[in-house]
Structures are given as C-alpha cells and as structure tokens.
Amino acid sequence: MAPESTAEPPRKSTLAAVLAPVVQPLVAILIATCVGGLLVLALGRNPFEVYGILISGSVVGVPNILVTLQMMTPLIFTGLAVAVSFRAGLWNIGVEGQMLVGALLSGIVGYAIHLPWFLHIPLAVLAGFVGGALWAAIPALLRVYLNVNELVVCLMLNPVALLVTGFFASHVLKAPGPTNKLPDIDPSAALPNFSIYSQVNAGLFLALACCIVLALVNARTIRGFEWKLMGLNPRFAYYGGVDVPRRAIGVMMLGGGIAGLAGAEQVLGQYRAFYDNFSPGYGFDGIAVAMLANFDPIGVILAAFLFGALNGGSAVLQMMTGLSKYLVQVLQFITVLVLAAQFSWNWLRRRPVAALAQEPERSAAPDLAHPSGRQA
C-alpha cells in the first residue's frame, strides 16, 4: 500500500530510498514469475517455453504488438479507476461492475440515438462515464453516510451489474438473433479503428490522455493534494479543512466514471455493440495494474502495458499449449499479494516484530462520515 509506505517521513536520501518505487514492483514481478514458473513445472510444462510463448505472443511482430495495445487499453482505464480511488483511501474494487454499467449506457446511446459523429461519439463516451459514476455512487454514498464497508458492497455489486446488464441484453433491449446483445451501434458512434490486425482504436488515446490529466491533477492541483491527504490520514485531512465525505464521494464517482470509459471503449471501439458478459475481468485486472503502478497515473500506463502484453500472449499460449489464460491471472494476483506486503526496508533491517506490534496500526478504512469521532 502506498499510503503506509509513505507514512514515515523519508529518513535519508539513501540509494535504497530512491530506488524503492522501482525496485519493489520489479521484485514483486520476479517473485510472481518464479512462483508461476514452479506452478507451470508442476503442471508438467517447461516454464521457459511457456514464458517464451507469452513474450513472443505479445511483443514480437507488429500484429502482436497491436493486439497488446488493444488489450492494454481497457486495463489503462480500469487501472486508473482503481488507482484514483485507492490513492484517496477508498477501496473501489467494483470497477468491473462500473465498467459493465458504463458499457451498457454507451451501447444504448450508441444505437438508440442518431446524431452526426462529432456529437454522437462524445455523447456515447459521456454516457459510459455517467453510467460508471452512478454505479460507483452506490458504494460511495453507503460508505460516507452509513459507514458500510465499500469493499464488500463493491464486490457484491459486481455480480449485480453483470446480472442487470445481462437482463437488458437478453430481455429488455435484446437485438434479434441468438446472441444476447444489444443492437449494433450506429457507425457514427464508433471509435475509429487503425489497423486490420487488432481492434486498437481511438480509445487508447483517450486512455493515455486521462492518465496525463490525472497525473497533472495529482501533482499540481489542490484537489489532487486533498486526495493524497485523505489516503494518508483522513482524520488529519478533515482537521486540515478537507471536506472528506464530499471528496470521498467525488473520487469514487470519478473512479467509477473512468471505469465506465473502459466499457465505452469496449463497446464503441472493439465490439460495436453491447454483448452480455463481454468482459474477461478487466475490472479485476485493474486492481493488479493499480497496485503495480503504486497508484501513479503514468505508472498505470506501464503496468497496463505489461499486463496487456500478458493477456495478449495468453491467447497465443492457450492455442499452443492448452494452458488456460488463468495462468496470467495467477501471476497478477501473486504480484498484488507481494506488493501488499510491507517487506519494505524495516524487514531487511530486522526490526524486532514485537516493536512493530506496538505501533498503532493506521486504520485501513477510516471513518469518513465522522472523522472527528474517537477510535475505540
């Protein structure tokens, strides 16, 4: 967790302190690769061969690179969505559901409204943003006003979103035909596509733009500073004059909106219609992306490239070896687990565990509605 790791003031500008943000993700990836390799070995395959296929299937050759870019686009959005909320101390892991709802609204606007392209595309994209933001508002409001664990609500709302959007795609607005999908979107709402090799589309540039904008917001604006403050210590932020409940709702809805953009990109750029159950779990991959990026918007781009490449390569892997794409998910969540651990430098310096136990643990999920209350 970034907030914990920065909770202590930097001691000295030692080499270790400078390298920490780069070394930690690399170590995590290395550990995940080793564990994954052992797993592959246990399944009776050659790990070097498997990793070789993953790499060559993702970054060797122009078509494969284009597929990787296609796969990384939704991961940038979902990773950014998770990163924005986590940085402000809100556990928004309902990104999958927010993406689905955003995709549904985009799909509806895409086919039901007829406009010239320069109005239709922005409107359909905006619909995706609004859909995701509204879905994220549910856990946000419950968190702020009723102190309900947003993490549990988010996790519960993911299947709810899948079922509700599935109901729309299979009953309410079903297109004629055997597939559970909405009617195809108008060509005027489609995000332009660049290549025949993959479905990488203008959504990629929107994703990159979002990252840059959020990086600037984080680094240069008061709002970005307030989010960081909330993530580090909401009680302090509250006494410092930050309207914590309001910012919490805002940042959750912003995250949800960005997640909705992932859905918009999928519907308007890749599938050209809303299909039931289209996502292979981009929202969950986003958690891994955000963790690896240490919640930094620019880091999200790099992390999304890595996991996008793995996802792209896993399709080739599945064809060639029969190992399923879940290997990549296993790698991702081992990485998350390792990154969550506070190995840090305390552990290396062999600080006695007893001393750690006495440290008051920063409350993981602070009470936002009543930050002034005392903790039992």
């Binding site: 967790m1 914990e4 797993l39 399944l43 556990w91 892991i93 419950l142 006003y145 009723l146 102190n147 309900v148 664990n149 993490l151 549990v152 609500v153 996790l155 519960m156 709302l157 299947p159 709810v160 079922l163 509700v164 599935g166 109901f167 299979s170 009953h171 969950f284 958690i287 029969g322 190992l323 399923s324 879940y326 290997l327 998910q329 296993v330 991702q332 969540f333 081992i334 998350v336 687990l337 969550a340 651990a341 506070q342 190995f343 552990w347 565990v353 750690l356 136990a357 006495q358 008051p360 409350s363 993981a364 999920a365 602070p366 009470d367 509605a369 209350g373 005392r374 903790q375 039992a376």
Partner: protein, 306 residues
C-alpha cells in the same frame, strides 16, 4: 404444500454457516477476513480432485481442509507477519483462489468450466429414525448429509469456545483492544494467526460441502460470493455466532425461494439470481443505518467499518 423448500433452505444455508463461523472467529479477533471465498474455492477444488483421484470422501474432506488452512496460513503470514493490508491481501487471495483453481481445473482435470464424474462418491443421506415421519420437522432435521449436521453443531461449539474458554476470552480481547491484550502479556499475533487458521478450517468444510455434498461437481467461481454473504450475516449479527447462524439460515431461505420462483412466476432468471446479492446489500444498509445511529448516541464504535 410440500416441505421440500425447508429441506433445501437448510442445505443452502449450510455453506453459509460454515463460512460464517470461520468469519465470526476472525471478526471477534479484530480482523475483517474478506478472503473466505478464496479459501472456499480452493477447498472445493481440492475436495473434488482428491475425491476423483482417490475415491475416498474422508481423504477428500481432509484434503480440502488442509488446502484451505494452508491458504489461510498464507493470508495470515502476509497480513500478520508482513503487515499487508487485510483488504488488499484478502482481495488478492480471493482472485488468486479463483484463477488458480480455474488453471488447475484445466491443467489437472482437463476441463474448462465444469468438472464432474461418476467416479466421485456421494455423501450418504442420513434419515433420522423417528423425526423422519413428522411433516415439517422431518424436512428440517432429516434427510441431510453428515456435513449439514456438522455445520449446525459447529455453531454452539464456536459460541462455547468464544464465550466460555480462556482462549475465547483472549481472542475477544485481542479483537476489542489489542494494546490492552499485549499489555497483559497476550501474544496478539499468535491469537490472530490461530483465528485465521480456524477460519481456513471452517472454509475447508464449506468448500468440501459445496463441491461434494451440495452438488457433485466443480465449477469456476462456484462459491458465488457466499463468503461475502456470510460476512454480511456476521455484520448483521454483530459477530454473535447464534445470531449469525440465524441470519445465514434466513439468507438460505431467501435463496431457496428464489430457486423455486422461476417455475412459478416465469420471471427472467437474472432477476431471481439477483435476490441473494440484493438481500445482502440491503442487510448491510440496515447494519450501517443502525450502527451510525448508535454511534451518534455513544460517540464510540468498535470497528471503523461494520
């Protein structure tokens, strides 16, 4: 009027009760263990794989428990020793469990989404001699597999351990005031570690029940957020084992109804599958509303979240 629905409510509630008892122990020790689903799915997979390979239900049950406890130990090491945030570690464990079992399903059993086989033995159904003939009571109490009885009997066992033993007292102190516990010489980390392992034990039962007794198959992500539903039941009952079990049975009843309804109403299946999730979220809303009011009155609370 047939009382089958009572029988199925009891069965549907069984994995929830197992998971909820596991969750209660960690809840009382001050840990919000959201990884119950991860433990359960790994146990469910191990159960079906060992039952398929060995043909023995006993070995399968033991295997499921061992796998689940091992995963719980991993969670404990990361959360307690390495100070990983419990929510992040828990989320990672859930998705790790789901993807690992999906990978092994393909790699070991050679199936993509669902695995079942005739070679897997079934738990025998126990017919309680006298009660079996009585209409309502028979449907409730008789005609279940052994694991169902274990689940319901584990509730008083957990309650007794928590409220009537020295260990239970220590565990609750660790949950309520870890600093005070440390001050009187209780090894806080050790108690927390034990609580997490017990959580894994119960989830082992829950997973084995899901894949070997409730149905005889393994499907990807077959726990269907039961761990979170159990967690909601715990919040609702504020961690009391008896009340938690009661809430779990009510959730089971709601689900049993929702399984029955499509035959009666002809509603879309998606809308009926929504019921357990919506009920859970509503339960959380009620909990939140209640605790927020209580807090405003007393100005103190136990968990930041609940």
């Amino acid at each position: 009027m047939d009382f089958d629905i009572l029988n199925s409510a009891v069965r549907i509630a069984t994995p929830l009760i197992f998971a909820a008892m596991g969750g209660v122990v960690t809840y009382q020790a001050g840990m919000l263990n959201i990884a119950l689903d991860g433990f359960m799915i790994v146990a469910a997979f191990t159960a079906i794989a060992t039952a398929y390979l060995t043909g023995s239900l006993t070995i399968a049950l033991i295997g499921a428990i061992v796998a689940s406890v091992l995963l719980a130990a991993l969670m404990a090491v990361f959360n307690i020793r390495l100070r990983a945030n419990i929510f992040i570690a828990g989320t990672a464990i859930i998705f790790l469990g789901n993807s690992l079992t999906a990978l092994l399903l393909k790699g070991v059993l050679g199936q993509d989404g669902v695995f079942t086989s005739d070679r897997i033995p079934n738990f025998p159904v126990i017919r309680v001699p006298v009660v079996d003939g009585i209409p309502v009571l028979g449907a409730l109490l008789s005609g279940h597999t052994i694991l169902v009885y274990v689940a319901y009997l584990s509730v008083p066992l957990v309650a007794w351990s928590l409220y009537r033993t020295r260990w239970g007292l220590r565990l609750r102190v660790v949950g309520e005031a870890p600093e005070a516990a440390a001050a009187v010489g209780i090894d806080v980390d050790k108690i927390k570690f034990q609580a997490m392992l017990i959580s894994g034990l119960f989830c082992g039962f829950a997973g084995a029940y899901l894949s070997l007794a409730y149905v005889t198959l393994f499907a990807r992500e077959m726990t269907a957020e039961r761990g979170l539903i159990a967690l909601a039941a715990i919040f609702f009952a504020r961690g009391n084992p008896y009340r938690t079990a009661l809430v779990a049975v009510l959730f089971g009843g709601a689900t049993a109804l929702s399984v029955r309804l499509p035959q009666v109403t002809g509603l879309a299946p998606q809308l009926l599958q929504l019921i357990p999730y919506v009920v859970t979220v509503l339960a959380l809303v009620i909990v939140g509303w209640r605790t927020t009011r209580a807090r405003n009155r007393y100005g103190a609370w136990r968990f930041d979240l609940g």
